[in-house]
Symmetry: none
Subunit: 221 residues, 4 copies
């Protein structure tokens, strides 16, 4: 019994042991906050450590460098996105436009409520300094999201639901307002006493516009 390792792990915590498996995630969460607030270069590991409630050295037990911690932050923000995308993609048959609507509202919600909305800005800002990370993000998030939308558009066009639009350009035009909103919120929002960006309203208008742009016979009435 003596030489036993740590973590009985489950039974009644008499003292409340430190949940060690949670450590990396706690650190990533703290790092996300600091990176989002300061940007990569201006983020100090000292502050990350302080917010995670650990010492500076502890960071290096889990991440070999600031770069890798940064990448871990970005990656950790990707998983939810991917799952989100899967969920959306699963919404099978029927008309396409309602799927598009749900999709846009979902992303709008994410943009409006989560702090991970600042991730795209981080990635774009540091793309030049982390080409591999930019490539990773591009491949795993952007391309996938674009592909999803492109499929949806093509299905709608094939089924006669959508007008025969230029798929690639339209995908970008669909995404742009959401991306801009995400970036906006973490850059200019609340400046100068302006009202904060009303993402839901923006998206509803966007959806209305898309209805006119995409649907056959829409717009005339």
């Amino acid at each position: 019994m003596p030489g036993r390792g740590p973590r009985p792990e489950s039974e009644s915590p008499p003292r409340w042991r430190r949940r060690k498996d949670a450590r990396p995630q706690e650190i990533v969460a703290a790092a996300m906050d600091v990176f989002v607030e300061r940007g990569f270069a201006a983020a100090k590991l000292e502050e990350v450590a302080a917010r995670a409630g650990v010492s500076k050295g502890t960071l290096y037990l889990y991440f070999p460098s600031k770069d890798e911690l940064f990448k871990a932050v970005i990656r950790s923000a990707i998983l939810p996105n991917l799952e989100q995308a899967e969920t959306l993609a699963a919404a099978g048959g029927g008309p396409c436009f309602p799927v598009l609507e749900r999709l846009l509202r979902m992303v709008a919600h994410l943009v409006a409520t989560t702090r991970a909305a600042a991730i795209p800005r981080l990635v774009m800002a540091e793309a030049g300094n982390f080409p591999d990370l930019a490539a990773f993000y591009h491949r795993e998030v952007i391309r996938r999201a674009f592909g999803l939308l492109a499929s949806l558009l093509r299905r709608g066009i094939a089924g006669g639901e959508f007008r025969p639009v230029t798929v690639d350009a339209t995908v970008r035009l669909i995404v742009a307002p959401l991306l801009m909103s995400a970036v906006w919120r973490s850059s200019f929002d609340g400046l100068d006493g302006d009202a904060p960006l009303d993402v839901p309203a923006l998206v509803e208008t966007h959806i209305d516009n898309l209805r006119r742009v995409l649907l056959r016979g829409a717009g005339e009435k």
Copy 2:
């Protein structure tokens, strides 16, 4: 003779001494390059000085700090924008949509061809670290540009040319694809063997869409 380094040092001053007024602009130009390539924090004044053909110390004759140099770079990228905006605003009477078209194509050209297209990304990336700069940019560039578009929309609506759209949201939806293009070009473009972003094509599709969205009676035909 113009872009030459420093110190003619000896021979008879050619009547007009080395245009000392050009110095700051040369420095700002060099700084813009470096900031755009590296981001604020990763930009080294050593490299700025080298590209400007001056010594590090000389930078401090014109700019009191790296921060101020950065701000000068951003501000210097604003002037052309403002003039651009004036020009556009001057396009007086007649139908509004063609004005909008010209405007979008003009910006698209800027985005596609100038390196200043990376400025918005810089500003957004450093907004958290330079709140006053973000505010300045927001006030002097964004608000002005948004105001311009809003006026145009209102005039079009009042004249019966445009449908009664939600002005604020529509302004953002008009701008978003251009902003996204600007950011995109300096972040992801050329990654993974993808074709580079075709900004003109994107803008033409955007204009087509806006025609359906904005113009009364458009779209049914």
Copy 3:
């Protein structure tokens, strides 16, 4: 079975519990390897622990600090030397030169075959940082070895076997090639494609030379 790691952990204790006395020696052995390979400062306790098959913390159950572990390593390399010395010293009466021969060949064998040959280099390298250790080594190893040789020389001289050489200097001249060989092997050996140092051959020549130098009437034939 012996060199195994820790933690039999569960099955019936095989009568004699894991020879706990062996632990410190296993650690010292592992530490010797690492110190020899890396030098004191560059040696990491992490690696020592890994090679000893224990955890880092365990080291501190046996040695209060890295310094003390280092000293233990050096001391552990002294014991065999001392025993060696005793053995040599025990080789009593008769002519002295054959004793010297055996002695040199014995040391040469140690230098050529054991990794402890790197100890002198370690001690010399760290003498400045561990004055007490250097003093200890000097007192317990060097002085003793020198004394042994000095006695032998004096006996030989007294018995008319050796010429009346300067004892102190001759002792050093006897030792130097062996010491140099030990250091050489752990520093330059195998560099640049050179053949490795042939210690036995070197010692045989050394013995030949010493025969001419020490023995009365030697050399003329």
Copy 4:
């Protein structure tokens, strides 16, 4: 003492520019002291800077890293050696043994009087951590010195002055006492109240011994 720049250095020269070309050498000299006293790893650049009378950052104006500074120190100690070697080699015709004598006394003088005598110990101590440096030293110093001695021996043998000794082994046996002396002086000298190593006396005995070993017909009288 306040925010002043760099050292006016002291008295009168009221303008007297900073001898900037001397800087690197001053730094190397200071670094040699610290490396010799502490060893590579335990040497602190802070202390090097302090002894050189410059700031820490200044070191990096001249040497890109601690490693490179170390290598520069070693290399700087090689030049004199090489020149020394050239001088020795230039000692042309005539009998060989006197040349050998002069050579040994010269090196003995270096060992006894200069602080660079500690360089071999440094190189040997760090050979494992700086293989390229060890190879460099081996190639540029050791091999050259060995070659010089080997030539001398061969010439002496060919001329009938020397007995037909094994050249390689003999070279090492000639060098060993000097190398050991150099190492000794920076490791054990003065320990325990012993008298410091009398290098000249040692070398004279060594020369006497070599006379018996090398010269034809020597020793019998």
